[in-house]
């Protein structure tokens, strides 16, 4: 199972990779929205089965990425992360079709619980 993690913070990318790979997931890390889109659009590459996206990023933010992804791949489940979750970000996340939301910082257990529950739901339909 492949998971694409998008965050401008290297430590967050590292942490996610460390937690998820330990559980046996295949992890792709993108430090920006543009790189994430490039990875998704790369010809022949298989789509990841889950997207883990930060909200606040320079140039294009997480909301922008979600809109792009939902337009092309409506089935792809997205988990939104934020270090500063306001009511507005949570609402927007839901509107743009995020499967769920996780607040930074998180423990490995919290991240795995979130990802697994979304993956389980995503596998079902």
């Amino acid at each position: 199972m492949k998971i694409l993690v998008v965050d401008d913070e290297g430590i967050v990318l590292l942490s996610c990779r460390r937690i998820l790979e330990a559980e046996g997931f295949e992890v792709q890390a993108a430090p920006s929205v543009d790189e994430a889109l490039a990875l998704l659009d790369a010809p022949g590459a298989p789509l990841p089965s889950l997207l883990l996206v930060d909200v606040k990023m320079p140039v294009h933010d997480g909301m922008y990425l979600m809109r792009q992804v939902k337009a092309k791949h409506p089935q792809l489940p997205i988990v939104v992360m934020s270090g500063y979750p306001t009511d507005e970000t949570v609402e927007n996340a839901a509107i743009f079709g995020a499967a769920t939301f996780i607040a930074k910082p998180f423990t490995p257990g919290e991240l795995l619980d979130t990802v697994l529950s979304v993956a389980r739901k995503g596998n079902k339909p």
């Binding site: 942490s15 330990a22 270090g83 306001t86 998180f106």
Partner: protein
């Protein structure tokens, strides 16, 4: 200056006094004038009558004297015998007793038998004197006034002619009238002398009035009745021959009698020409007199002169002036009193007003404890009290709104800082948490390493909590209001904390108020407010203490009154030191040990309550306990913003 209430007040008081003074002055003068001058005029008219009566009396006396003489024994015989010596003797006796200026006896032929004076013995010449002839013609006695021409007087006695001659000082244009100045006006009588029923002659006699001061002075003295004005008797009397003063005690400015002066044209026209009595105010030579004139008719019924009496008007005008002065003085005094009274009254009224104006100025300069002076009685006192209440209310509101502004400004800036910090910290914190926990999963750790890692994990967890608190604080989370039964909400919250209280040994009691209206509020946020208040109370209360929670309907305390509900959390704990009171709601203000409190509880709570349009108050007494009051409006956030 003249628009001030003070000057208006004084001016109106003065005006009223002036008006009253002027009116009473006017009516007083009017009445006095009417009374005094009218009285004087009446008196003068009466005096004139009395004067005329005195003239008539004199004439009667003359006739009586003549009668007595004509009846004297031997008189008729002497007349018939035309004995000049005896007749002259009798005539001189008569003249002496009756004070006659002239007297004579006519025979039946109209010729003189005898007369007074130097021509006594020139007999058998026709008599000139008209009165004797008249008595002869009528065969009866005649009495009255006669005008004697110079010829008649010369005929009678040259000395008389001399006495009658009156120098006229103001001759001039009326030179023609000079002739009259040599005539005489006389009071005279003539009686027939009878022998049985046969007339044998006529006895006549009279007094020349020209220069005769006795008559006018007698009249004057009788009328003055001793009253005088500046050394002069107030009454005067005059006998006029035509319009010429021939006997008078009216004086010229130099003190001489005004003999030879003339009456005014107006009086002359009325009295001499029309034969009327004339009375009124008249300018007689040098003074104003209240006067009365009447015409004098001679024995032929011709108007030959006038008789006048008058009183100095000055006497009466003096009375008037005195009265006027008194009136003016009274009015003046009244005005001074009114002025004083007005100033006093104005001060009484305006003093407090000025004080209030000053107090208002103090308020506008920022004072909330203006000096309005001692509180008065009555309306003004009410004004003062209301003013003070108003200032106090303004002060309370301003303080409240200032507090609120400061508080929300503090919260906003701390919020921005917290948001920035939280956002930056959360990313590295994710790394710390991740790697600590990943390490802890390893099976090959020795106990020491595991203990160290767990310490890191716990500390990091604390950091996470602090950051979360900061974020909660900074987030001005939108309210999600719904109609709520306050008692249920409070009851549920108390339930959540009962265990904690039990462990600590503090009794928690909830006394639900009755008939509470539903309040529209965000339940979860309001619950966190209550939680923090109760936890704070628990923290402050030693074991064995008590926490009571009440709910009750209540009106908002400040200025505008709104209906609402008040939740009270009262403890028997430590109390809050006075110096902490104004810092309680500051973000990060805490007295709790590190790790026990972040100092954000009350700050966040206040933000939440304010977003509900409510307010939090606190009362505390050191060592006795603390009460927190949360007031929420019924209308909730849907009400006024």
């Amino acid at each position: 200056m003249f628009t001030s209430i003070r000057s208006k007040l004084i001016a109106s008081l003065l005006g009223v006094t002036l008006l009253v003074g002027a009116v009473s002055l006017w009516t007083g003068v009017h009445l006095l004038k009417k009374h005094v001058i009218g009285e004087a005029a009446n008196r003068v008219a009466l005096d004139l009558n009395a004067g005329s009566e005195m003239i008539q009396e004199r004439i009667r006396l003359i006739r009586t004297a003549l009668n007595i003489t004509s009846l004297g024994s031997g008189f008729v015989g002497s007349v018939e015998a035309a004995d000049p010596n005896d007749l002259a003797y009798r005539l001189s006796r008569l003249a002496h007793h009756a004070k006659l200026d002239f007297a004579g006896i006519l025979g039946t032929d109209g010729n003189i038998l005898s007369r007074l004076g130097p021509n006594a013995k020139i007999q058998r010449i026709p008599a000139e004197n008209p009165i004797g002839r008249m008595a002869l013609e009528r065969q009866s006695s005649v009495e009255g006034i006669v005008v004697l021409t110079r010829e008649m007087l010369l005929h009678e006695d040259p000395e008389l002619a001399e006495r009658a001659r009156i120098a006229i000082p103001d001759l001039g244009a009326e030179a023609a009238a000079a002739a009259e100045a040599t005539s005489g006006l006389a009071l005279a009588a003539a009686v027939p002398i009878f022998e049985g029923s046969r007339v044998v002659g006529v006895l006549y006699g009279g007094q020349l009035l020209n220069r005769d001061e006795t008559l006018v002075d007698m009249v004057r003295n009788r009328l003055s009745q001793g009253e005088s004005y500046k050394g002069r008797p107030i009454a005067t009397a005059t006998v006029f021959l035509n319009d010429l003063r021939i006997a008078t005690n009216v004086t010229l400015p130099d003190g001489r009698r005004a003999v030879g002066t003339r009456v005014s044209a107006e009086v002359k026209a009325a009295v001499l020409d029309q034969g009327r009595r004339w009375s009124g105010r008249a300018w007689v030579l040098s003074d104003w007199y209240i006067t009365a004139y009447e015409p004098l008719e001679d024995i032929f019924g011709r108007r030959v002169g006038m008789f006048y009496v008058g009183t100095l008007e000055a006497k009466y005008t003096d009375i008037l002036t005195r009265a006027l002065t008194v009136f003016i003085l009274i009015t003046g005094a009244g005005m001074i009193v009114a002025l004083g009274f007005g100033v006093l009254l104005a001060n009484r009224i305006m003093g407090p007003v000025h004080r209030l104006i000053k107090a208002s100025r103090q308020v506008s300069e920022g004072s909330l404890t203006p000096d309005v002076g001692p509180i008065k009685e009555g309306e003004f006192g009410r004004l003062q009290k209301t003013f003070l209440e108003m200032v106090a209310a303004v002060g309370r509101r301003r303080a409240a709104s200032e507090d609120r502004i400061i508080q929300s400004e503090k919260q906003a800036s701390v919020g921005r800082l917290a948001a920035g910090v939280a956002h930056e910290i959360n990313n590295p914190l994710t790394g710390v948490l991740t790697y600590t926990h990943m390490l802890l999963r390893r099976k090959d750790l020795n106990t020491e390493m595991r203990a160290d890692l767990e310490t890191i994990a716990a500390a990091t967890e604390r950091v996470r909590k602090i950051v979360k608190g900061l974020l909660d604080f900074s987030r001005q989370t939108k309210l999600d209001p719904e109609p709520t039964d306050i008692n249920r909400l409070v009851g549920a919250t108390v339930g959540l904390l009962e265990n904690q209280a039990l462990v600590k040994g503090v009794a928690v009691k909830f006394m639900a108020g009755e008939n509470l209206p539903m309040v529209t509020l965000d339940r979860s946020q309001m619950q966190s407010v209550l939680m923090n208040l109760i936890i704070n109370a628990l923290d402050a209360t030693p074991p064995g203490g008590q926490i009571k929670i009440f709910t009750a309907p209540a009106l908002s305390g400040d200025g505008a009154v709104h209906k609402g509900v008040e939740i009270t959390v009262a403890d028997t704990g430590s109390g809050i030191p006075a110096e902490h009171m104004d810092k309680l709601f500051d973000p990060f203000f805490t007295t709790k040990a590190v790790g026990q409190g972040t100092g954000l509880g009350l700050s966040v709570s206040q933000g939440i309550v304010q977003r509900h349009q409510g307010h939090i108050r606190v009362q505390s007494e050191m060592g006795k306990g603390t009460r927190f009051f949360v007031w929420l409006p019924i209308e909730g956030t849907g009400g006024k913003s």
